[in-house]
Amino acid sequence: MPDKKIRVLIAKPGLDGHDRGAKVIARVLRDAGMEVIYTGLRQTPEMIAEAALQEDVDVVGLSILSGAHNALIPQIIEKLRQNGQEDVMVFAGGIIPDSDIPSLLSAGVKAVYGPGTSTQKVCEDIQAAFAR
C-alpha cells in the first residue's frame, strides 16, 4: 500500500548559532506527522541544496537570524532550481525585517514567518500546499 509522508528539510544557513527556533519548528512539524530532516548549524547554500536533493524533500524551511537572508536565501533557491527541484516549497523564519519580505517572496520564498507566528499556522500552510 502506498504510504506518502511530507518530507521537510529544516536548515540553518549562515553563521549565527541560534537554532532554538529551527528545533521548535522541526518538532512541531514532526508532531504534525511530517518527516523532518534537520542538518545542524552553519550550512552553506551548497550543503542545503545537496541535502534537499539527496533527501528528495517537498519543503525546505530556512531559519536565519544573522541578517544574511537577502544574500543567502536567493542563492539557495537558485541552487535548488539548478538541481531540478523547482517544485520544492521554500519558507523562511527568523529575524527578517518586513521591508525585506517582498524581495524574498519574489525570489521564490513561499512565506516568511517572523517572531510570534503561531506554529499551527506554519503546519497548516504546509499541509494546505500538499493537500490531496
Partner: protein, 342 residues
C-alpha cells in the same frame, strides 16, 4: 509510469535527482516504486552492505561519518551510499531525522550519497523499506552501502538479515558482564566497537566484551578453529564425502574515538578482514540467500494477510472481535472461526 522510466534511465547515468526520486517511490511503495525494483533487481547483489547499530548516543552517526571518509581515501575510492534510519513517532507518524548533523564532513564529495529514513512503525531497528532502498542504491552502482539503524536497545537485530557486515557500537559504562552475555544485539556483531574510548570505563567495557566472546566463540582461544558444519545440520546422504572445514570468524573488539578519528585504521582493517572472510568461504553467498529468503517471507506474510483481510466481510470480523473482547472465545478460537469461514 513514463516518469519512472525516465528516472530509471537517468539513474543509470548517475543522475542524483533521478536516484532520489526513485528512492522516494520505493520508500512509499508506489506502483512506480515496485516497477523500479523489478527493473533494477538484476543489477543488485554487488554492494558490500555494512550495518552500524548500537544504543542511542553511542556515536553511530559520527562513526559512519568517519568510516565513509576513510573508505573514500582508499586508492580505489569506492562510491559510498549511506542510509540513516531514525524512529517515527508512534503517535503522529512524523519523525525527526537528525543523523546528517554528524555527517557534515561528507558534504561536497560527489562519491557519497546520504539518505535519511524514518522507521515508519517497524520495530526491528530499520524501516520495512530499508532493504528495498539498499537494493536501489546497489543497482545505482554504489560499491559500499552503510546502513545506520535507529538507536537500538537489546533486540533490534533486523540489520543482521540485511547487512553483510554488522558493526555493533557500544560506549563505556553501558553495562557490566551480565549485559555482555545477554542474548540479542551483541550476538549479531561481526565487529564490536567501543566508541568514546577516552571516557572512563572504556577498558572495562572492552574487557567485558572480550570475555563474552571467549565464552561464545571458541575461535578466540584457538584462532581459526575448525568445525564440521554439515555433520550436525544435514543428513549423511547430502553431507560431503570429506568432512568440509569451515573457518570461524571471531568478532574483533576495536576501541575508537570517532570524533577524532582514533582507532579508525583498526576498524577499517576489521571491516576489510570480515569482507575477505565472507568472500573466502561461503559467507557472502549464504548471507545473500538468507537475506533474499527473509525478504520473500516478509512479502508473503504482508500480501497473504492483505489478501485474506480483503475477502473477509467486515461484519464477520467484528462479530468475532466482539466475542473475543467479551471473553467468550480465546484468540486461538477466534482465529479458528475466521480461518474456517467461507
Amino acid at each position: 509510469m513514463s516518469d519512472i522510466q525516465y528516472y530509471l534511465e537517468k539513474l543509470r547515468a548517475g543522475d542524483k535527482l533521478a536516484l532520489s526520486r526513485v528512492l522516494t517511490h520505493v520508500e512509499n511503495n508506489t506502483p512506480e516504486g515496485i516497477f523500479a525494483l523489478e527493473t533494477l533487481f538484476p543489477q543488485t547483489g554487488r554492494a558490500h552492505m555494512i550495518g552500524i547499530t548500537g544504543s542511542p548516543g553511542t556515536g553511530k552517526s559520527t562513526l559512519v561519518n568517519s568510516i565513509a571518509m576513510n573508505l573514500r581515501k582508499k586508492p580505489e575510492a569506492p562510491r559510498v551510499a549511506i542510509i540513516a534510519v531514525d524512529p517515527s513517532s508512534p503517535y503522529s507518524g512524523g519523525a525527526l531525522l537528525g543523523d546528517r548533523v554528524r555527517m557534515r564532513d561528507l558534504h561536497g564529495d560527489q562519491g557519497i550519497f546520504i539518505r535519511s529514513m524514518a522507521s515508519r512503525g517497524a520495530l526491528g531497528g530499520l524501516s520495512h523499506r530499508t532493504a528495498a532502498l539498499a537494493q536501489v542504491l546497489d543497482a545505482a552502482g554504489f560499491e559500499i552501502i552503510l546502513i545506520e539503524t535507529v538507536g537500538a536497545g537489546q533486540s533490534e537485530v533486523e540489520i543482521a538479515s540485511l547487512a553483510h557486515t554488522v558493526i555493533v557500537v557500544e560506549a563505556p559504562g553501558m553495562g557490566d558482564e551480565i549485559q555482555a552475555i545477554k542474548a540479542g544485539i551483541l550476538e549479531i556483531a561481526n565487529v564490536l566497537v567501543v566508541n568514546k574510548a577516552d571516557r572512563p570505563g572504556a577498558e572495562n567495557s572492552t574487557r567485558a566484551l572480550k570475555a563474552m566472546l571467549q565464552m561464545a566463540h571458541p575461535g578466540d582461544y584457538m584462532p581459526m578453529a575448525r568445525k564440521h558444519l554439515f555433520n550436525a545440520l544435514e543428513s549423511p546422504t547430502t553431507a560431503p564425502e570429506q568432512s568440509q572445514e569451515i573457518e570461524i570468524w571471531t568478532p574483533p573488539v576495536v576501541q575508537t574515538i570517532a570524533t577524532e578519528g582514533n582507532g579508525l585504521d583498526e576498524l577499517m582493517q576489521a571491516i576489510e578482514d570480515h569482507l575477505a572472510y565472507l568472500k573466502r568461504g561461503q559467507g557472502w553467498a549464504m548471507r545473500d540467500k538468507e537475506n533474499l529468503a527473509l525478504e520473500m517471507e516478509g512479502l508473503i506474510r504482508e500480501h497473504l494477510t492483505q489478501r485474506w483481510l480483503a475477502q473477509m466481510p467486515e461484519a464477520r470480523l467484528e462479530e468475532v472481535m466482539l466475542a473475543l473482547q467479551q471473553r467468550k472465545i480465546s484468540p486461538h478460537q477466534a482465529l479458528e472461526k475466521l480461518l474456517t469461514y467461507n
